[in-house]
Every structure is written in structure tokens, then in C-alpha cells.
């Protein structure tokens, strides 16, 4: 599980995930997500290279989303693969976090 963080214009932060966000994968990025959530107000999570996610991974993303939105910030997902998209929509998370087909759309969604 890899995670790359990059600053984009207009105060937007992009976090790109790569690999399997299963129980171990989620544990590997949990702390870094907590730090991001505490520090950033506009976060885009790029899921292009995320191969797998289950509820433990969703949990990490949701804790992050709740922290950011509770202080008035915004978070959006981008580029989810079909399998990941299926899990996102099955869990109903798409109803509270903006899920976008492209990175540009996700950046726009957080107000970048």
C-alpha cells in the first residue's frame, strides 16, 4: 500500500493511493490520513491505482472525511476503478462524499 501526497494550486492537496487497501493496507496509511485530515481543508483522494478496498479501508477514508468536513473543509474521491466504485456505492458513502470520474472534477468539487 503506497500513498503519495502532492500540493496542487489553490490550496488543494492530492493524496494518491496505490495497491490493496485491505486490513493491512488501511493500517499502513491510517496515521498519515489522520495527519492530512487534521492539516488540510481541501483534499482530493486519487483512487486510480487502488486495486482493492473493503470496510476497513472505507473506515480510514470515512474518519478522514468526517474530520475535514467537521471543520468546514471539503473532500472528494477521483478515478475509482470499477471494483472500488462498486464497494463505494454499495456502502452508500457516495451519498456523503463526492465521487468523481476525473481528478479535475474532484478538484472542482473541493473548490480548487
Amino acid at each position: 500500500m503506497e500513498m503519495t501526497v502532492e500540493e496542487l494550486p489553490n490550496g488543494v492537496t492530492k493524496a494518491a493511493l496505490k495497491g490493496r487497501m485491505d486490513i493491512e493496507g488501511a493500517q499502513a496509511v491510517d496515521v498519515r490520513f489522520n495527519v492530512l485530515a487534521g492539516a488540510k481543508r481541501k483534499l482530493v483522494v486519487d483512487l486510480r491505482e487502488l486495486d482493492f478496498i473493503a470496510s476497513m479501508g472505507l473506515r480510514t477514508l470515512m474518519v478522514c472525511a468526517r474530520t475535514i468536513t467537521s471543520k468546514g473543509g471539503k473532500i472528494a474521491f477521483a478515478n475509482a476503478q470499477p471494483n472500488v466504485l462498486k464497494v463505494l456505492s454499495s456502502s452508500g458513502i457516495g451519498e456523503v462524499v463526492s465521487v468523481n470520474p476525473t481528478l479535475d472534477a474532484a478538484v472542482a468539487a473541493v473548490g480548487g
Partner: protein, 565 residues
């Protein structure tokens, strides 16, 4: 071939288990989606067991069994923990409030969403969760349908391959009533409502919850759809052609036996319903219909939906009508009490004959008449007609009769008497009703008839050679306060008669909507001279009825006659 493996009670054992599953699925040629679904469910189940389950004694003994093909997979997870049935509906948490970001509770939701079929068994010393995916789930679901439970695996696979996978959004129509029946539907996921479409809207007949087969009787018998099927939730289903159904039937007669059993059950239901209707009808006839019968009849089966509704409307109408008729009947009874008692022939002492009768168009009348000896020599003759018909008219009629009788107790002068009654009626008359009235008093010794006519059609004076109207008419009663009417008088000779009548007689209509008319009445009276009063009144009634020739009586008919000896 089923492959097995045990899993340590530690989160670090989840990933190796996932890799084991992945390897087997790849080797079997499973699709990306199938592999992902199995692995998500595996992780959720294992995480649940490792983090939350309580071992019964000793270790949790978690073990996996996987059977995979290119089209489907079956994953069985066994454990020796306290039972935890994830198929229990109560395990589902309520949906989050709008905007609420909920962290946990996604595991079971994901398993339910991604596994095609879930089966949980607690065996006492161990539990088994069986998760079926792809074609395995379809087979499992189809086998859970009684009619298809014994279809061999090869036929089942042929059926699944030949069937069209369809999905419907909640609210969509799966089958339309009246259409040709070309296919059956096997519901794999979701709930549908079977309804009968009628002009009065949908009548619910039954509910089908996956796994279930619907429309197979229609597809096999090729009758048109007898009901519509609507999706209550999102639905996944297989559309099975008649041909595919027949193919299964050929190899598996049990399927046909099951369908016939189901058809027989439906016929039985319809017969039961018809029996209830027959009982309901005869109860209606006997007038002891219990409306609670309708509850028993509310869900009679596809073919009887519309009939059931029609029957309910009929039954309600019959009982309502009967109720209002009973009310009318009691009103008619009260009104009957307002009519005069028959005259005492002894008191008339052969000086004249007199008779009055009334035939209401409905249960109660707006006409009135009175025929009473005021004293030894004076015979009161009254006919009136309240505007309108039915209950309101009859109430005003009763008030008029009462007012006249009260006034008559103290007042001998008939013009003054009528004026008093008029003022009393006016004071009570909130509904702006009025009465036409002819009030006459016949002196039996002298043969003089004094009368006041308040807007009533003129009575006829029948003499030896003629038949003439009694002249002099004022406004009707109850409308003009303080009005003074003028009394008139006419001298009757022995053998002369007078006929008072309401316009129901002369305005009586036949089927061709022609009026009976003044001329006809006049001619009848000339023709039938010499009859006594009762015979005369009955002749007029009979002639009007013969003229109507079965046409419905539109207005109340009233006649009063007096004929001097």
C-alpha cells in the same frame, strides 16, 4: 473441486487468506469483479470473526472452503464461536441521517451487496456461513424455488445461460396485465408486488420476494397476463423463455408437477372466494349482510380482483340504500299519522259521500289533504302541495297541517284561519318553502261550499250537465307575511260533487312524456258522473295510472272528493 484452508485468529492472517483465494480464482478463470467480490466478503467475514467473535471453548477454529469456476464461486467460512447470523435483518443498522458520515457498520452491508446468496447455519458446536457468487448464487437461488428445487445441475446451467439477466429499478413494471405471456421471471434479488389493474387503480394481490418465479403459468399456458407485476425495490431477475421452461419440463417433470400444484392451489383459492361471494350475495338478499365478509374477500386472487371491487361497491350500495329506505319508511309512517282518520259514515248521515287519498311518488309525500267533520254540519275539505319533494317537503307538509289544525281550533272564519296558518308558517320558514292550498268547508245542510284558494290548482265542480273550475285564487301559503286571502262561495245542488286534486294528477306523464292534462280529467269526470266519492277518487287514480303506462310516477298524487246526496 473444493479447496480448504484454516485461518489463524489474527488480523495478519487475513491477507494470506485473500492471496490463497485470489490464486484459486485466477486459476479457475474468474473475472476481475468476481475475484474482488469474493475477497471483499472474505475480509469482512474474517475481520468480524477475529475482532468481535467469542470462541465457544478453546480456539475459534476458523476454516475456509472455496469452490470456484470461471462463472461463479462458493466460499464457506466455518468457525467455533458464538453464533452470529448476518442474514438476520435486525443486524442491519438504520440508514444514516442526510449528511451524516458514519464510520462503522459497512461490513455486513458490503457482504449483502456483493454476495449473490447468503446462507448461515449454526450447528451447535460450529457455525457455517456460505457465500455464493455469480452463477453459484443463481443456482442456489433458483434451487430455493420449490418448482425448480430438483432441476439437475446441467439443466440449471443451460437455463441460466439461455436466460436474459434483467434488472429493474424500484417502481418499474416487470409484467403488464393483458399482454401476451411470453416469458417467466426468476427473481434473484428484490421484492415485487403483484397487482390487478382496474379502472379504480391497482388492487394488490400478492407479493413476491426473491428467490421466486413469477409468470410461469402464463408462459406455459400462453394465456394473457392476468395481473401486473411492479418492482417494490430494485430487482435483479432472469427472464426465462417459454422454450427454456419447456426444455426443463422435458427433463424434469417435477417442475410441471409443481406448477400444476400451484395452479390447482390458485383454482382452489378462486373456488373458495366464489363460495364466499355466493354466501355474501344470499346474505345481501336476506338482508343480514355482514360488511366484515368484505375483508375476507379483499384478496381473492388475480382473476377476481376487479370482481371483488365491483362486489364491494354493490354490497355497500345495497346496504346504504336499504338503510336510507328504512329511514324513509319511518318518515312515511310519521307522515301517515298526519292524514285524517276515515270519516264516520253515521255522522254524514247519508247527506253526502266524501273520500280522500294520496299516492306518494317516493316514500314520503309533499302533498297533504284533510277531510274532517268540524261539527255536525260542516265538512272540511283540504288539499295542498308543498314545493319540492321528499323529506324536506314532507316536513313542511307536516308543519302546514299542524298550523292549519291549530288555527281551526279558534277560528271559524276560513280566510282568517288560513292567514293565521300562513303567518305561523312564515315565522318557521327558514328554507323559503311554500304550500299551495285549497281550504274548503261544505255545509252539509245548505249545500254551500265556502273556500279559500292559496295558489292551488282550482278544484272541479261537477254538476249534472257540466264540470267547471272553482274560481278565485290568491298567493301560496308560507311566503307572504300578513297577507289576507279572500273567501269565495259556491252553491252545490243535490247530486253535485267537488273534486280537489294536486297537480300530480294532471301533470302525470306517460312513457312518451305526454301530460295527463286538464281535458282528460274533465272528460273522465263527465263520463263517470253518478259514482260515490270513493269510487270517483279511485277511478281518477286508476285512469292516471293507466295513462302513465308504467312510466315512473314523478310527483305525488292526491285527490279529495265530496258528492252531495
Amino acid at each position: 473441486m473444493t479447496q480448504r484452508r484454516s485461518v489463524e485468529d489474527d488480523l495478519s492472517a487475513v491477507r494470506p487468506a485473500a492471496e490463497w483465494v485470489e490464486a484459486i480464482l485466477i486459476k479457475a478463470g474468474a473475472s476481475d469483479e468476481l475475484r474482488n467480490d469474493v475477497q471483499v466478503c472474505l475480509e469482512e467475514t474474517l475481520a468480524n470473526l477475529i475482532l468481535h467473535a467469542k470462541p465457544l471453548d478453546g480456539g475459534k477454529d476458523i476454516s475456509l472452503a472455496l469452490n470456484a469456476s470461471a462463472e461463479g464461486a462458493t466460499l464457506t467460512i466455518a468457525d467455533r464461536c458464538a453464533p452470529y447470523d448476518i442474514t438476520d435483518k435486525a443486524r442491519l443498522t438504520a440508514p444514516p441521517a442526510p449528511g451524516e458520515i458514519r464510520i462503522g457498520g459497512n461490513g455486513i452491508k458490503l457482504i449483502r451487496a456483493l454476495a449473490g446468496r447468503i446462507e448461515y447455519k449454526a450447528h451447535g458446536d460450529h457455525n457455517e456461513l456460505r457465500l455464493e457468487f455469480g452463477a453459484d448464487a443463481k443456482r442456489g437461488l433458483i434451487r430455493a424455488i420449490p418448482a425448480l428445487s430438483k432441476v439437475p445441475k446441467d439443466d440449471l446451467d443451460t437455463l441460466i445461460l439461455s436466460a436474459e439477466a434483467v434488472s429493474y429499478a424500484a417502481g418499474a413494471t416487470l409484467v403488464k396485465q393483458g399482454e401476451q405471456s411470453k416469458f417467466a421471471l426468476i427473481l434473484l434479488k428484490g421484492e415485487a408486488a403483484i397487482v390487478n389493474e382496474s379502472v379504480h387503480g391497482d388492487a394488490p394481490l400478492a407479493q413476491a420476494t426473491a428467490p421466486a418465479m413469477i409468470g410461469e403459468i402464463g408462459a406455459l399456458s400462453q394465456v394473457r397476463r392476468t395481473a401486473s407485476v411492479r418492482a417494490k425495490t430494485d430487482i435483479e431477475a432472469l427472464k426465462v423463455s417459454r422454450k427454456a421452461l419447456l426444455l426443463i419440463a422435458k427433463h424434469e417433470p417435477e417442475m410441471l408437477v409443481a406448477v400444476i400444484a400451484q395452479t390447482g392451489q390458485q383454482i382452489q383459492n378462486i373456488n373458495t372466494a366464489l363460495g364466499l361471494y355466493a354466501a355474501g350475495l344470499s346474505a345481501l338478499e336476506r338482508d343480514d349482510f355482514d360488511p366484515s365478509i368484505l375483508t375476507d374477500l379483499s384478496n381473492p386472487g388475480a382473476d377476481l380482483g376487479e370482481f371483488a371491487e365491483a362486489f364491494q361497491r354493490l354490497a355497500n350500495r345495497v346496504t346504504q340504500e336499504r338503510r336510507s329506505r328504512a329511514e324513509l319508511a319511518s318518515a312515511a309512517l310519521i307522515q301517515g299519522a298526519m292524514l285524517p282518520a276515515p270519516l264516520d259514515a253515521e255522522k254524514l248521515a247519508g247527506r253526502c259521500t266524501a273520500f280522500g287519498a294520496m299516492k306518494p311518488a317516493r316514500g314520503v309525500s309533499g302533498d297533504l289533504f284533510d277531510l274532517t267533520l268540524l261539527d255536525d254540519n260542516r265538512l272540511m275539505l283540504v288539499v295542498g302541495d308543498v314545493c319540492g319533494k321528499g323529506i324536506p317537503a314532507s316536513l313542511f307538509m307536516s308543519a302546514t297541517v299542524t298550523a292549519l289544525r291549530l288555527a281551526a281550533q279558534h277560528e271559524r272564519d276560513i280566510a282568517a284561519l288560513v292567514a293565521q296558518a300562513n303567518d305561523a308558517l312564515y315565522a318557521l320558514n327558514a328554507m323559503s318553502m311554500f304550500t299551495t292550498l285549497f281550504y274548503g268547508v261544505l255545509d252539509l245542510e245548505g249545500g254551500q261550499l265556502t273556500y279559500v284558494n292559496c295558489g292551488h290548482n282550482p278544484p272541479l265542480h261537477v254538476t249534472k250537465n257540466d264540470c267547471v273550475e272553482l274560481v278565485g285564487r290568491g298567493p301560496p301559503l308560507g311566503f307572504f307575511p300578513g297577507h289576507k286571502w279572500q273567501a269565495h262561495a259556491v252553491q252545490l245542488k243535490p247530486g253535485d260533487g267537488v273534486l280537489l286534486f294536486s297537480d300530480g294528477v294532471t301533470e302525470c306523464l306517460n312513457r312518451a312524456t305526454e301530460e295527463y292534462g286538464d281535458e282528460r280529467l274533465n272528460a273522465l269526470l263527465r263520463r263517470t258522473r253518478g259514482q260515490n266519492a270513493e269510487a270517483l277518487v279511485r277511478t281518477v287514480f286508476a285512469d292516471a295510472e293507466a295513462f302513465a303506462d308504467g312510466a315512473e310516477q314523478a310527483d305525488d298524487i292526491t285527490c279529495v272528493a265530496a258528492i252531495l246526496a
